[in-house]
Amino acid sequence: MQPFTTLTATAAPLLRDNVDTDAIIPSREMKSVSKTGLADGLFAGWRYTQIGGRNPDPAFILNQPDYAAAQILLSGENFGCGSSREHAAWALAEYGFRAIVAPSFNPIFRGNCIRNGIVPIELESGPVANAAQALPLTIDLAAQTVVAASGQSWHFAIEAEPKAMLLGGLDMIDLTLQRRDRIEAFRAIDRHQRPWAYFAA
């Protein structure tokens, strides 16, 4: 996973509440058993003029020249609600998004972002959008700040573990496997206490 330290990039405002993962990547766009090949399907239902087509709808924010290179997305409450499909995070990352600013995130989607190098930033996005317009924002993950070109800035909260994961581009499976002995010792004791929880290997 690509580490995230700082990013200066354009922020595209998609200020709708409850943007769901079906909207982020429609199920029909998840064509292969793969984590890649999804960027073209990102927001397909809104981004193109026809379902299944690839003619850009000029009204959609990502199709406007000012936001063509956006790497930050600004959105509304409960972003990423709905299906747990990690394809939503994979599609956003493959398209080039590295951070999403929204007042709140769906919990499963938020976890998926963290595991794919996308920083979920919980902030009221309206004021950020007003300050940014089409000018770049700078995100400093270590400092937990978002700074607009105007100098206006916001501090955001993020827990220690996701922050460390994103900063270091860490693989959590490797980290957890370092505790394998501890896990197996716990399971061995637990197996005596809750034998019904375990099937024969």
Binding site: R16, D17, N18, D20, D22, A23, P26, S27, R28, E29, M30, K31, S32, V33, S34, K35, G45, I51, G52, G76, E77, N78, C81, G82, S83, S84, R85, E86, A89, S104, N106, P107, I108, F109, G111, N112, R115, N116, E159, A160, E161, M172, I173, T176, L177, R179, R180, R182, I183, F186, R187, D190, R194, P195, W196, A197, Y198, F199, A200, A201
Partner: protein
């Protein structure tokens, strides 16, 4: 990471404490995962990715997979699917499950079905267990008193490789529902009513414990429906304390403990309830008598109204929806403020999904359909939640009721709950559906979905327009 011992513990606290292997700091715990469930849509990619990284499944005997998301549901189905690349998902999952030594409920296996239907049916989820599945509706299974929640594929890989997940301890919420549901109201109406009251972010990140006399009175099938839609409230998951109904439901199920192990298990499960002095981060209460049959009118599950209501004016939803979101929803749905829901003509009726396709649901819908026929021009489809539900329904003759009423009677799977590139309803078609999501284009490009109980779907299919089910079964 033990809880405060001064006040009592919530049911969730007890499950967390029993499974927390290590405190990782910052409110995060390393949590033991007892069961992993997979399906071909997201499970195959997790298993393949795990293998590609040179890792193995730590405890394959604790992992189960089923085929539900992209399989066809038409009779005589094979690995070939109407969804153009569906076969790839099926064959990849089958190969990966075999290679990893995972139990698979494959096509043709009488245990096959929708993951959240087959797990309780097989006794895979049990009270007090942790279970994860890369599927948002895993919260359904909390109805049995286990801690079950949905995750993404990468977290599924983590659970497969390590038998654990790193979890930030969620906040707790109790929703107490006392009294009796109004006549004609179902667990689905209750779930939708809660969404209407509290909104699509109403339980954001919380573990929701459903409690109260109305919840105790629900059957296990109904509890599964109620818990199913906790993800629509943006909850971490939902849970209901196990009781005698839970134990009666599970006893004798294939993967439930037997003999002495059953006795020991049930003894321990009696402690699985929130202490009287347990403190929740949030407490909400509703009166079950306020819940009647209802239906959604917009493109979020929070867009809910009683069945005999009109489409609300913007002012009624302004605390939750922006004007743009409201206008967009009305435009998409082809409805106007002030319009009576019961005047909306429908093109299709769908009974199925992990929300409402268990035997209880099919019986209630059949009670409405018996001796009646769907209106001309309405396409009506019933997809049982599992192969076993289908067989049980057929043993009772329910399939004949559905067929005689003009419904298609399908093989089990997720089917047209969502459009994966295969079967769909048409653009602009209005569908009354027993499913869980009414998002734009969820059931087909441009398709308009109204979420409701199976009874309301059945009544509407007969009427050819959105209909109040009470008018249909009061005479039965």
């Amino acid at each position: 990471m033990t809880s405060n011992t001064i006040s009592g513990r919530t049911l969730f606290d007890k499950l967390w404490d029993a499974h927390c292997i290590d405190d990782l700091g910052g409110g995060t715990g390393l949590v033991l995962i007892d069961r992993v469930m997979l399906h071909e849509r997201t499970g195959g990619v997790a298993l393949e990715s795990l293998a590609a990284a040179g890792r193995t499944v730590n405890a394959p005997e604790q992992v189960f997979a089923t085929m539900d998301h992209v399989v066809d549901t038409l009779p005589g189905r094979t690995d070939a699917t109407i969804m153009p690349t569906g076969r790839d998902f099926i064959t990849a999952t089958r190969a990966a499950a075999q290679a990893a030594g995972i139990t698979l409920f494959d096509l043709g296996d009488d245990r096959q079905g929708i993951v959240h239907v087959v797990s309780p049916e097989q006794g895979i989820i049990l009270p007090g267990l942790t279970l994860i599945c890369p599927d948002s509706h895993t919260c359904s299974q909390g109805a049995l008193g286990g801690l079950a929640w949905g995750i993404g594929s990468t977290e599924a890989e983590h659970a497969l490789a390590t038998s654990t997940l790193r979890v930030r301890k969620p906040r707790t919420m109790r929703i107490t529902i006392d009294g009796a549901l109004a006549a004609g109201a179902t667990a689905k109406d209750l779930a939708l009513h809660l969404l209407g009251l509290f909104g699509a972010a109403g339980a954001k990140g919380h573990v929701v414990e459903y409690a109260g006399s109305a919840v105790r009175a629900l059957s296990i099938d109904e509890r599964l429906t109620l818990c199913n839609m906790a993800t629509e409230l943006a909850a971490f998951t939902a849970i209901i304390a196990p009781d005698e109904k839970t134990f009666a439901y599970l006893e004798g199920r294939p993967y439930a403990p037997k003999g002495d192990a059953w006795a020991r298990a049930t003894e321990s499960w009696h402690d699985l309830r929130s202490d009287d002095d347990a403190v929740f981060d949030t407490e909400l209460r509703i009166d079950a008598a306020d819940v009647g049959p209802g239906i959604t009118w917009g493109t979020s599950p929070q867009h809910y109204a009683p069945i005999d209501a009109v489409i609300p004016a913007y002012e009624a939803v302004a605390t939750r929806d922006s004007r743009e979101a409201y206008d967009r929803a009305l435009d998409y749905m082809g409805v106007a403020a002030g319009q009576s829901l019961r005047d909306l003509r429908i093109d299709a009726a769908f009974i199925g999904s992990c929300t409402n396709a268990r035997l209880y649901d099919l019986r209630r819908a059949a009670a409405v359909l018996k001796g009646r026929h769907v209106a001309p021009g309405v396409r009506a489809i019933c997809v049982p939640g599992s192969t076993q539900v289908k067989a049980a329904a057929e043993a009772e003759g329910l399939d004949a009721v559905f067929r005689d009423a003009g419904f298609e009677w399908r093989e089990s799977g997720c089917s047209m709950c969502f459009f994966a590139g295969g079967e769909s309803f048409g653009a602009g078609e209005r569908v009354v559906s027993s499913t869980n999501r009414n998002f734009e284009s969820r059931q087909g490009p441009g398709t308009r979905t109204h979420l409701a109980s199976p009874e309301t779907v059945a009544a509407s299919a007969i009427a050819g327009k959105i209909a109040d089910p009470r008018a249909f079964y009061l005479g039965n």
